[in-house]
Amino acid sequence: MSAAEPDATLGEPIIEVDSLVRHFGKQTVLNGVSFKVHAGDTFVIMGGSGCGKSTLLRHLIGTEKPTSGSIKIFGQEITGMKADALQKLRGRYGMLFQSGALLQSLTVAENVALPLVEHTPLDAGLIDTVVKMKLEQVGLTGHGHKKPSEISGGMKKRAALARALALDPPLVFSDEPTAGLDPIMTAVVDELTQRLTQKIGATVVVVTHDMNSVFRIGTRIIMLGTGANQGRIIAQGTPEEIRADPDPAVQQFINGDPDGDGVDDTGELLYRDMLLRKL
């Protein structure tokens, strides 16, 4: 099989990103990012702090506009999309924010019910049942009546996941779903994510720097670089391909080494030289 031929094991492309560039002032945060996410994938975007992975996700959900490049979701170009059309498209995906982003003025159950109340003709009784089901799935049975301020960070995240899944969307974005969770809750959230793709056939895009999660749930992975490779994809492929990647920056990230190309220590060396010269 030649490289240009599409891989027969992949589903149809759900997200197609081509040459995405984003500048903030003089700073280039995304620098020519291109990739495709296929149906049924759990697509992981990983990379160090400040590599632009959250910014990339914001472009995918359409809350940030790129400097140049193209983003197609379900085959529709979203970069120049009108508000109305974007609104319609947004009904087809769910998003789990890093902080949860639950509405503080509503209870947990009302938060989960919100997309159902807004976008479906279901009556209150049915919505109530769906909400209970979703809360049960994320292990929050009996916490529905509480306000977000009354529950822990991990519970907020799971409630937000329940809200993102309320409409059973075919595409789910997830920003650091396991950050700040204990190992057991991390496994629970990972399992939920896996269940989404395996049982419901959803496509999931996850931004994370938790290596356990990456290899537990990822079916395709891209890694964004920092420093000189800021905003570029420095590695992509299946979990096996990423593990076997010869790039030292990738290996350093996977193994969590403090020294290596992935850490910018030029400043430290400079100061050391200055000190030595003064002695």
Binding site: I61, R90, G91, Y93, M95, F97, S99, A101, E118
Partner: protein
Amino acid sequence: MEAFRQYLALCGSLLFWLFVAPFRGKPWRIGHTFAQIVRIGVHAVPMSALTALTIGVVLAMQSAAQLAKLGATVYVPGLVSSSLIRELAPLVTAVIVIGRSGSSVTAELGTMKVSEEIEALEVMAIPPMSYLIIPRFLAMVIMMPLLAVFSIYVGLAGGWLISHYSLHMSTAFYVTHALQYVELRDVGIGLLKSGVFGVLIVTIACSIGLNVSGGAEGVGLATTRSVVVSLLSVFVANALLTALFFF
């Protein structure tokens, strides 16, 4: 300058959601509006009442002290009623509403902005304009004139306290003289003023709140700015409206 551009953008979007969107199957959210009416308007009633009462009392005392020198205390009721209806009730109500409702709108929206709640609404395909801004706008525009009317009544009662108990006027005398110096037009302009103040307060509060950046510190700064800008705009607008209608 950037802030002014954001303000104009909000106003444009507000016009769309007020007058165009309801005809495209996106009606105003009445339930949310009532909730905001209670928060923005009804909860401001006790404070407005106390302020208006003291203003009425002070107006009567000050004018009585001056007019007594001319032996013309009969003009006290008219002075109280015309200054309350034309100027003070709308203005004082606006100051109260800026302090307790405008600031809270900015702080609430700002906190929602920094905690990604507004972005979450957008991603859930729930337009923040329709879900958050329109109910607050309608509540403010409905409640400001009502609060002003209420303040006029309470302020007149304050004037009556002094006129009746200190200047020994009968209630009937106070009421007839208070009404003698104002026309229906004055009441209409007073209410128009408070409507304009309401629009200014809520649009400024929302625009600044929605554009908060920089975490808790940003929310604090935005709330202060919202109060300052609203106060200045209301005072300037009041001077312009007075010049336009009464001068």
